[in-house]
Amino acid sequence: MKFSYALIKKFVPGLPPKAKLTDGLNMKAFEVESSKGDTLDIKLLNRYSSAASHWGMAREAAAIFGRKTRIPDKELVNIPEDLGKVKVKISEPALCPRYSARYFEVPKVGSSPAWMQKALKSCGLRPINAVVDIMNYVMLETGQPLHAFDADKLAQSAKRKAQIIVRRAAKGEKFMTLDDQKFELDQDILVIADAEEPLAIAGVKGGKKAEVGRGTRRIVVEAASFWGANIYRTSRQLGLTTDASIRFAQGLSPYLVKIGADRATVLLSDILKAKLVDSKDVYKKLPGRELIEFDVTRFSRLIGVDLEPRLIINYLERLGFKVNVGKVKKDRFIVEVPRLRDDVTIFEDLAEEVARLYGYNNLPSSPPLVGLVAPEVEDEIRLKDETRSILVGLGFNEVYNYSFDNRRSNVSRFLPLDDARRLEIENPISEERRFLRPELVTGLAGNIENNRRTLDELRIFEIGKVWTPKEELHLGIGIHAVSGEPFLDLKGVTQTLLKRIGLTEFMLRAEGRTVLIESDHEVLGFASAGSGKSVFAELNLGALAELFSAEYEFKPLPKYPAVARDLSLTVRGNTRVGDILEAINNVKSDRIEDVDLLDYYDPTRFTFRIVFRAPDHTLTDEEANAELGRIIKYLRGRFNLEVR
């Protein structure tokens, strides 16, 4: 929000130069985002609503630098009231707790004085005419948005009474703003209306109908309090954000209404010789005094510094809080919150006020006192770490893709998802990012495509969340190689990985050009031969985290040497290597230690190396041959093959 340095200085005579003010605000109140000429752009961050004003900022500056303010916030008494010139009816008191209307006769609407125009421009507002400018200027000074209606343009009742009604809009009701934007309203939107139609969208923007112009002679000045959430919602619904709506959305104190109306009355009279003829101020009940107990011990515990009660009281008083000094106990006292500081409701709020004025950078940095307990790292996190280190060791590069994706791969073997079951973003950033990714392999395929031009061989992986539509943690692996058989690398890597992370019970089941990885009849992942040059695997890592047991147990080293035999086969029919491997593993023998494919000439001719070992003696040639013989016999009984 934009502020004028000159205007703040007007209310704090001893204000330090701009650079020092900027620094003071930054460290003790609000962040000054930029500063140019007379303008300071200050980030208010919803901290508190009354700071959205020069008076509020002046109070902050005065508190920070220990100066006095000179704020013209004199309260007007004995003003003409309830004389029947203006009537106000609030149909929705929950959405509008207070509405004040003041009826003025204005001899002439000219231009506002130069000093006022300068302040408006510093704050990014355009001067229009004296009445409108005074409304805006009072908002800048006090934080209370105001609006002036041309009283003669309101629907007149019999006795030239101006009638103001605060009500919900009707569905489909039309409205045109001062700057000719047309809107269609609905019941969620609060409007200020005369007997016939809306004059303004409450708290957001005035309308064309009762616009104040050079010829205006009688005005109704509105100062009101609206329910912030409703103004915020309306402003978002209509896509209409104004200086007023930003302030109202924070929730302004109903006390601010009279302050703003009084200040406007003074300026209208001083500048335009306007005469206040009548007024109406409607409200049910204003909030009572806010009293909070300040506990010095509790402050020390929360902030971590011991401050003298005298110092604490000094900080609070500088910010306008009242401390009942007569009742000061050593470490507890009652603090009365200034009316406009309705953001302060609990002890912690008070603690913040004291701590920031004391200066966060003056706090000590003290080591916490905690009982030592060994920190825990969740299993899934450990598994991710382990997987990463294994794959990096195997020469893979890690990638991070977006969680949003519109593509589907044709290799995924997890449950196929139709659009209706995919998680869809209501407000996607673009069409390509409309869904949450159901798999990682699509992203990896894209990465390979993008990197292929610079590299002949690529090995990549990603660990991340996917939605199927349930949120799952997956691991995706991709290999691209111009030559060789990348699928065998992929399969080997996948198996090695599974064993390394401690998954002992899993099965590989071939299905077309894909191998499914299963455990307990659940598909945990797949490795797909894809196009042959680019191959992909994906694993449900989250599901694995529940199965694996990465506990290693020492097995005694073998005492006796192993004996190896090679078995060369020629097969007929559709017998594949995997079938024979599985069969050999099924042969009942505790002497088979390892079976490996030694040579693969073509789909019908290949050689296995089988390693035999006995735990209690060195196997003789005869024994090894007998074992091999049993295997051959078993295979012959099952497959159409020939031993070469």
């Binding site: 003290s366 890690e398 990638v399 973003i425 090995r459």
Partner: protein
Amino acid sequence: MNPDKLNDIKRLREEALKVSEGIKDAKSFDAFRVKYLGRKSRISDLLSSLKNLPLQDRRVVGPEAQRLRKDLEEIVSFKLKELSGESAEVDIDVTRPGRRPRLGHLHPLTKIESEMRDIFTSMNFSVVEGPEVETEYYNFDALNIPADHPAREMWDTFWIKGKKGERQSRLLMRTHTSPVQIRYMETHEPPFQIVVPGRVFRYEATDASHEINFYQLEGLMVGKSVSLANFKFVIEEFFRRFFNERVEYRLRPSYFPFVEPGVEVDIKFRGKWLEILGAGMVHPKVFEAAHLNPRDLTGFAFGMGVERLAMIKYNIPDIRMFYANDLRFLSQF
């Protein structure tokens, strides 16, 4: 003592060594193996004849015979290697460049995140994670950010399309890791201290410093008297270890609905102040939302951007590089 046997062994050794020098091909290799180590070889005879010797002699001759057999076996295996081209004694130009092993690389964000985690675990913080698709309740309401409050504007949100009336709380892409504060406090008794790394999402246009998904590391420490001064200590330690030097930093007032007081932390890096994280003391309403009694507890919470720290540490100019997956970039880390 039977010197004959020892002499036999000695002779046999000399002979075998001599013959072995003549091994030039598979045929002579096989012949050698059969002759000296085969079932009917002289060493075999020798060994089987040992049992006929008196115990005293056996003690001397036995080990000597076994040693011979071992040496012969070694010769055989050496010759086998030599014949199959595995000899160590080939010509080698040791000045040739070494072969480059194939190296994999962790993503820079993984590296930074794990560095951050390590520092915190070494300070007794546990590491936990939470879901990326969250409910409106955990992401906002429980964190004292009610619906229709302008504070929500601080977090531009991706909403998940839902079937009407299907869910109690709407689903969204979490805008910060803070929901895990509530989830953790609902199920754990203080005192505790945790860090929560994870991916978060913001609906905003991407540029050099904004992405639609990015990573945060959340911290939460709760106990009977955890103070803002304690936070200063912890974060100071973190900076010192993360940047390997004492870093100048400062705390400024700020506002986040789930903390009170709220602060922003800047560090001075290459002469400039950089916003690095938001923090504060856990708001009593947040304790209440997690069914803890705020009278008995205090705690601090903080959240920082992992990309931002990575960009500072590695001098990376554009946040989008982390998600472009150009291997020429990734393999630098």
